[in-house]
């Protein structure tokens, strides 16, 4: 995992931030604003996180609010749930999304069901942050996309930003949300993706709303996370080389999905492609496709097509296999062209 841990400071121009800086900035702003916000996870303190997302926060807010936990994900989430029940707004960091599974029971059986099972008496305002996604030689256990597991679970919200602006705005919303929010950060985007982030300004981006990443009229492409950038790049190429107009919808929240936005775009263009790097079967794209199939039938000019990671356990380490796994601009472009020609 070249460069996963030891990073140089990234140069950005004024008003610009990297994706990871935006995330760190959101946490700092919210910890500053609200004493009940605490941060807990493995190596989040002195080390500042294995990706440095929490760098400096323990110095600012002390080790009672920025807690290096024992190596136990079920405890990280379970203790955060308890703290949330008692008035805190914990941000629980899972070091890699791949290691969220030991906490699965606490997330799915406890956090997700607390409000419902108490008829609204108790609630769990907490955020679980975790880096996900591939393309950094992280191999089977440092590359996974696990969002679909949680997008199936009522009571949870699942947010996946693709830009620094959204990363900050959505993380702020997640921290203020009254319910448990899983916040997945694409680890390849951390330093690769830069963008405008209003400085000193308190803004937020609402959970549950998709974003038109690129306007278009002939085809809709639905994506989230890093794939949004690849889709936009492919769409630009389509426009330039084929004169074909592709709309790219950045879902941003995959639970609950922004159904109106999906329907609007799918109905408008009549052709839909869903792109995701998770395993194809029952990935979030399956739900997007199923929604379109059920609710846009009369508008469709072609099959709803999916381009996703293969149904193999995860992304292998060796470069040719890693590349084979991960959808890229070239393969997205090819899928767009084939669907366009349909």
């Amino acid at each position: 995992m070249a460069g996963l841990g030891t990073h140089k400071t990234v140069e950005t121009s004024a008003g610009q931030m990297t994706y990871i800086q935006a995330i760190q900035s959101a946490m700092r702003d919210e910890m500053e604003r609200d004493e009940s916000v605490i941060l807990m996870g493995e190596d989040v303190g002195a080390k500042g996180g294995v990706f440095k997302a929490t760098e400096g926060l323990q110095v600012l807010y002390g080790d009672t609010r920025v807690i290096d936990t024992p190596l136990a994900e079920s405890a990280i989430v379970g203790v955060a749930i308890g703290a949330a029940l008692n008035g805190m707004r914990p941000i629980a960091e899972i070091q890699f999304a791949d290691f969220i599974h030991p906490a699965f029971n606490q997330i799915v059986s406890e956090a997700a069901k607390m409000r419902y099972r108490t008829n609204g008496d108790w609630s769990v305002p907490m955020v679980i942050r975790a880096p996900f996604g591939g393309g950094v030689h992280g191999a089977l256990y440092h590359s996974q996309s696990v969002e679909a597991f949680f997008a199936h679970v009522p009571g949870l919200k699942v947010v996946i930003p693709s830009t620094p602006y959204d990363a900050k705005g959505l993380l702020i919303s997640a921290i203020r949300d009254p319910d448990p929010v899983l916040f997945f950060e694409h680890k390849k985007a951390y330093r690769l993706v830069k963008g405008e982030v209003p400085e000193g300004e308190n803004y937020s981006v609402p959970i549950g709303r998709a974003r038109v990443a690129r306007q278009g009229k002939d085809m809709s492409v639905f994506a989230y996370g890093l794939m949004v950038h690849y889709c936009v790049a492919a769409a630009e190429q389509m426009a330039a080389e084929d004169g074909y107009s592709v709309e790219v919808i950045d879902l941003r929240t995959v639970k609950p999905l922004d159904r109106p936005a999906i329907l609007e775009s799918a109905r408008k263009t009549g052709k839909s492609l869903v792109v995701y790097e998770a395993n194809r079967t029952l990935g979030v794209g399956a739900e997007v496709a199923a929604i379109i199939a059920e609710e846009c039938f009369e508008y469709l000019d072609g099959p709803v097509v999916r381009l996703a990671g293969p149904d193999v356990p995860a992304m292998p380490f060796s470069p040719p296999m890693e590349e084979f796994f991960l959808p890229d601009t070239k393969r997205i472009l090819s899928a767009m062209r084939r669907l366009a020609a349909y």
């Binding site: 605490i38 136990a72 405890a75 203790v79 308890g82 059986s109 009571g155 609710e295």
Partner: protein
């Protein structure tokens, strides 16, 4: 080089409280439990027992599909609750803890509504199975069914109290079966590293459904594990209400003083089958069942108070009559209570800002025309 390493040995086999009945009144006095409180404790135990018995009647009468019982564990439950401060402490019980929640203020009507799935049931709006307690008002943290998850929640509430500099103590109840879950270990470890004000209270009734203790763990006393976390651990006879009270008070005092967690193991008896779906005669020796029934904490506590002159036979009779009347009235009220409306199924999935209830329906969404 035999001296160069230490064999960590099992601590002395823990000795449970044994019949020192003569001393018990003095111990009670020493524990500082005043007579009014002793009577309140007895009342809570008896109310829980009688309420529990009524639940079984409702079950046999076909009115309650599922009952799970506190019977035999009321002493440990009430002894511990009364050692804590219901104004500020955090209570994290499990399904066995009817006497815990009744001591904290849950009523027979609450319970009967719950076993019959009626609206107004305070734990869950009749969504959960009975005995899945929870009430913000009573400072009872909600439980699901997944065994031992609550251990971490208790630790989390204690972490929050500590961060804010409050003096609250959290108490977590769990069966000895629950101690086998990873969450039990993770909870004790987290709590001990951060010296959190939490009491882990294990109700060891020697069975997890049909699985006996010797298939659950290779030690006699689960309290011995405290040493593995650098915290104090105690074994106590769960039928000995005052001793439970004393140990819990001490643990709470340590917790409030910043000295961290305590593990208490109360040896208790499960006088009923695991639940109304179980028949313990299949897997337990009849002799053992009989023996345990003879050690029932409720009559034992009653006799203790009688002997000490804290209550009289007449008091006891009057109390039973009063409770029975309340339980009868509560049964009727619960039976007459309506069910929740079907559409309530869609409520309280999310708080503010979440999707509308209607968006959560499972029905077809295609615009098919016709009637849905």
């Amino acid at each position: 080089m035999a001296e160069a390493k230490t064999r960590v040995r099992e601590a002395e086999p823990a000795v449970t409280s044994k019949a020192l009945d003569g001393a018990r009144r003095r111990a009670a006095a020493a524990g500082g439990v005043d007579e009014a409180t002793q009577r309140a404790m007895y009342r809570a135990m008896l109310m829980a027992r009688m309420t529990d018995e009524r639940c079984w009647l409702l079950n046999r009468g076909g009115k309650a599909p599922f009952v799970i019982s506190c019977q035999g564990q009321e002493g440990a439950q009430v002894g511990s609750v009364f050692a804590l401060d219901r104004e500020q402490d955090w209570f994290v019980p499990y399904y066995r803890d009817l006497a815990v929640v009744m001591a904290l203020g849950m009523t027979p009507e609450d319970i009967f509504k719950s076993v019959m799935g009626r609206a107004g049931e305070p734990n869950s709006g009749a969504r959960q199975m009975p005995s899945h307690f929870g009430s913000r008002k009573l400072r009872i943290v909600s439980q699901g069914s997944s065994v031992a998850t609550q251990c971490l929640h208790a630790v989390g509430t204690a972490l929050a109290s500590k961060i804010r500099g409050e003096k609250a103590v959290s108490i977590c109840y769990v069966g000895e079966g629950g101690t086998s879950q990873g969450d039990f270990h993770e909870a004790l470890n987290f709590a001990s590293v951060h010296r959190l004000p939490v009491i882990m209270f294990v109700e060891n009734n020697q069975y997890a459904i049909s699985v006996p203790q010797d298939l659950q763990m290779a030690v006699q006393d689960v309290a011995i594990r405290a040493a593995g976390y650098g915290i104090p651990g105690f074994v106590v006879d769960g039928q000995d209400v005052f001793e439970v009270h004393r140990l819990t008070s001490d643990a709470a005092a340590r917790a409030r003083a910043g000295e961290g967690p305590t593990l208490i193991e109360a040896k208790t008896h499960r006088l009923t089958s695991h639940s109304s779906d179980d028949d313990q005669r299949v897997y337990r020796p009849a002799e053992e069942i009989k023996q345990e029934a003879s050690e029932d904490a409720v009559p034992r506590f009653r006799n203790q108070l009688l002997k000490a002159g804290v209550i009289t036979e007449e008091d006891d009779k009057a109390l039973r009559a009063e409770l029975l009347a309340e339980i009868d009235a509560a049964t009727e009220a619960a039976e007459n209570a309506p069910y929740p409306a079907p559409e309530e199924t869609l409520l309280h999935v999310y708080g503010e800002g979440g999707p509308e209830p209607d968006e959560l329906r499972g029905d077809p969404r295609a615009d098919l025309g016709g009637e849905a």
